[in-house]
């Protein structure tokens, strides 16, 4: 992976050098491409680092958007308290970068084990149709809703 990135970087550098003699705009475009390549690698690592990763507006303690809040509440309902939450309002590069990385135009965005799950609507639907319990189980997380159901049945 590293060699691949390095060779891509080298390739872009050569490109930049080649184009220095031409219009400035083209050089700038190559430089931006380089940033995008570097950014993309970071996102792939970021979403894999934790089992559950959320890109949201605000923080789990203080969400700044109703849709982000819905994601936090759904996860909380299932007893998922330990997850990485990145506040995109803090950082415009993060905000635009994650959208490009997942090819998804809106925030919040949820990742399980490095894989893109979807936004608020999808997580909500997965919660409603029971898929979320199953997906969490695959991650080795036991949904708190299962225990809640048991508790109710034993009463």
């Amino acid at each position: 992976m590293n060699t691949l990135v390095r060779s891509a970087v080298r390739c872009l550098r050569v490109d930049t050098v080649c184009r220095t003699g031409r219009a400035d705009g083209q050089v700038f475009a190559s430089a931006r491409l380089l940033c995008a390549a570097a950014g993309q690698r970071d996102f792939a690592e970021m979403v894999k680092k934790d089992k559950v990763v959320v890109f949201m507006k605000g923080t789990p303690a203080q969400p700044m958007c109703g849709f982000s809040n819905a994601v936090v509440q759904i996860l909380r309902m299932h007893g998922v308290d330990e997850y990485a939450a990145y506040n995109v309002l803090d950082d415009q590069d993060l905000r635009q970068g994650v959208k490009a990385f997942s090819n998804w135009p809106t925030i919040p965005q949820v990742f399980f084990n490095g894989e893109f799950v979807g936004g608020c609507d999808i997580l909500l639907q997965m919660h409603q149709n029971g898929d979320l319990v199953e997906e969490l189980r695959k991650l080795g997380i036991r949904s708190a809703l299962l225990d809640a159901e048991k508790g109710e049945k034993s009463k």
Binding site: K57, G58, P63, M64, C65, G66, F67, S68, N69, A70, L89, R95, N103, W104, P105, T106, F116, V117, G118, G119, C120, D121, I122, L124, Q125, M126
Partner: protein, 180 residues
């Protein structure tokens, strides 16, 4: 206007036959006529009001709601929906009145059959790619197959706003773009 109402209510009562109840005694004309007219007048007025609204509604679609109109047109063309609802939810958020920034769409299409939820949503996002990058800030999506819609014909509600758009520069930019 009053003449119109009186006339249509008269027409309505004549056609519906609501006033033709005949009761014995002094109640015949005075007392019974009043609720009868009221009852018959109400639907007539509603019909009038409704037709007036739709008359105004149509030109508004094209001129005052360019984003909503485009969203409707693009989704219709790309997904041939059996049922389509495009709801402007901007008034629920911290944006100026009349904005076209926050939308909810419900798309019922046979194109969604065999696709995962993620794939369906991607299809909708892809269709509205231009609007999402230029003018739409938030898009809530329900993507159902005709069968799913038949089993559960309900429109989801969006969560209450938490003020995220208030100090968001990108929203301001998109609002400007949406007004063109």
């Amino acid at each position: 206007m009053i003449k119109m109402n009186a006339y249509t209510s008269y027409q309505f009562s004549r056609r519906s036959g609501l006033c033709k109840v005949v009761l014995p005694g002094p109640f015949h004309h005075s007392l019974l006529m009043l609720p009868c007219v009221l009852r018959s007048a109400r639907p007539a007025v509603q019909t009038l009001a409704f037709s007036r609204q739709t008359a105004q509604f149509r030109p508004q679609m094209a001129s005052d709601r360019p984003v909503e109109t485009t969203v409707r047109a693009k989704l219709t063309a790309a997904l041939e929906p059996a049922h389509l609802e495009v709801i402007n939810e901007s008034h629920m958020h911290a944006v100026p009145p009349g904005s076209e920034s926050h939308f909810r769409v419900l798309v019922v299409s046979s194109r969604f059959e065999g696709l995962s939820l993620l794939q369906r949503h991607r299809l909708v996002n892809e269709t509205l790619r231009e609007e999402l990058s230029n003018s739409i800030h938030a898009l809530a999506i329900q993507a159902k197959t005709p069968e799913q819609w038949e089993n559960n014909p309900s429109l989801a509600k969006s969560p209450p706003c938490m003020g995220g758009s208030k100090h968001d520069n990108t929203v301001a930019g998109k609002l400007k773009a949406g007004q063109h």
